[in-house]
Amino acid sequence: MNVIKDRVEVAIIGGGISGVALAYELSKRGVEVAVFEKNFLGSGSTGRCGGGIRQQFSTEENIRLAMESVKIFERMKEELGWDIEYYQGGYLILAHTEEEVKQFEKNVRLQRSLGLDVQWLERDEINDIVPELDVEGIGAIAATYCPTDGHAYPPKAVWAYADKARELGAHIYEFTEVKGIIVENGRASGVITERGETRSRFVVNAAGAWSPIVAEMAGVKLPNKPYRHEIMITEPLSHFLDPMVISFHDNVYFRQTMRGGIIGGWGDPEEKPGFNFASSLKFITTMARLLRKYIPALKPVRVLRQWAGLYDVTPDAKPILGPVKEVEGFLQMNGYSGHGFMVAPMCAVLLAQYITGEPLSIPLEPFSVERFEKEVRGEVSVVG
């Protein structure tokens, strides 16, 4: 294997969607970068995730990040030259209680004020979007639907960014773990890896659920916690389901992939934080009961696989982006709390703008880790 570069402008720790998207955005701007990934690209949460891309959030920050990311996904095929199986089949978000209806009304008002096209559906209109859904059986009383939400195949998005970044001069080192961060006079100035040292002007922590461990290498504390999240896929069926269907009430979501399988996850409210990748019977049986209830026609369909990944969760379910005050030049790009695949493209643009001193398209302060010193208002539209 090649020896690693001894000096670059920016050293990025982590080769998930965040790390490679940033590598691309910086390379495009003529900045020399190196990405260090301890396993293969996408082996962390990105390659395990549901691939859902939605803009229907409850906070302005998440809505704006997601709306800008959708614009990037829409031109990705052209810009990066890969078909990442991007499909805008919409997201159907179900409300089951009056309380949820009130919250969703608020969300829709905010979303529309930011220019998002979302539709409000009464109970009897839900089947217009998904005829197979047993609206009565699941107790849905209303829903919101955004037709420009959608999904993509995450591993391909990672390779698309990585290939283009390499073409533009980025150094991407797989199977290369970062063991330490060099801090000199209060400034991050490189990384120590299994294969040697690389000096840099900036060090970016894009290590997903492992970010608190990486931050610790520079003496920085992050509030993120890793939570296992399980997911499964069925055998392929002919296409019938356009949108991602999601219920915060039942903590469940599912969609159909371009290959035809139904992919979906359920969040166990009893899950404890930790680096747990085990597949559980509790998950697959609960998920099967939910699918049977939501779409009874799925009963005879066979489940092919289940697996688990980690959510990298912050106290307000918003990412941590940008500098920290303890160590200059040590930038955070983590804490996506279960919806990072969809917003990483825009987060990469923002960090690239910050590093090159360009004007920022969206201010970074609301994403600063310092916000946790005060009381924070959290994102409520999440499958926890």
Binding site: G47, W159, T285, M287, L298, R302, V303, L304
Partner: protein, 96 residues
């Protein structure tokens, strides 16, 4: 290898040819985990029972390694495809 051999199918569930497998390895997808995600090889009904073994052999030859040096992807349950209605009726006393 002759053209005929290259048209041979290595993964029947996902219809992947030997040629596609060799091209993927040349593009730098040099672990079974990566090949699985890139070609969907081993993601079909058979859960990789035949194709992953074949792919491991091809990969080993290409990389000049022994087959037992090729790392196997994590085995994902259920080992055989199971119907949603059957899983829904499983009583999970094993609360894990």
């Amino acid at each position: 290898m002759s053209d005929d051999q290259e048209e041979e199918i290595v993964c029947r569930c996902e219809d992947v040819s030997l040629k596609e497998l060799l091209e993927a390895i040349d593009r730098g997808y040099t672990t079974l985990d990566q090949l699985k995600r890139y070609l969907r090889i081993g993601m079909g009904h058979c859960q990789g029972r035949t194709c992953l073994r074949l792919a491991a052999g091809v990969l080993a030859r290409k990389l000049g390694k022994r087959v037992d040096e090729i790392e196997w992807p994590t085995v994902r349950p259920p080992i055989l495809p199971v119907e949603i209605s059957k899983l829904a009726e499983v009583d999970e006393r094993d609360k894990r």
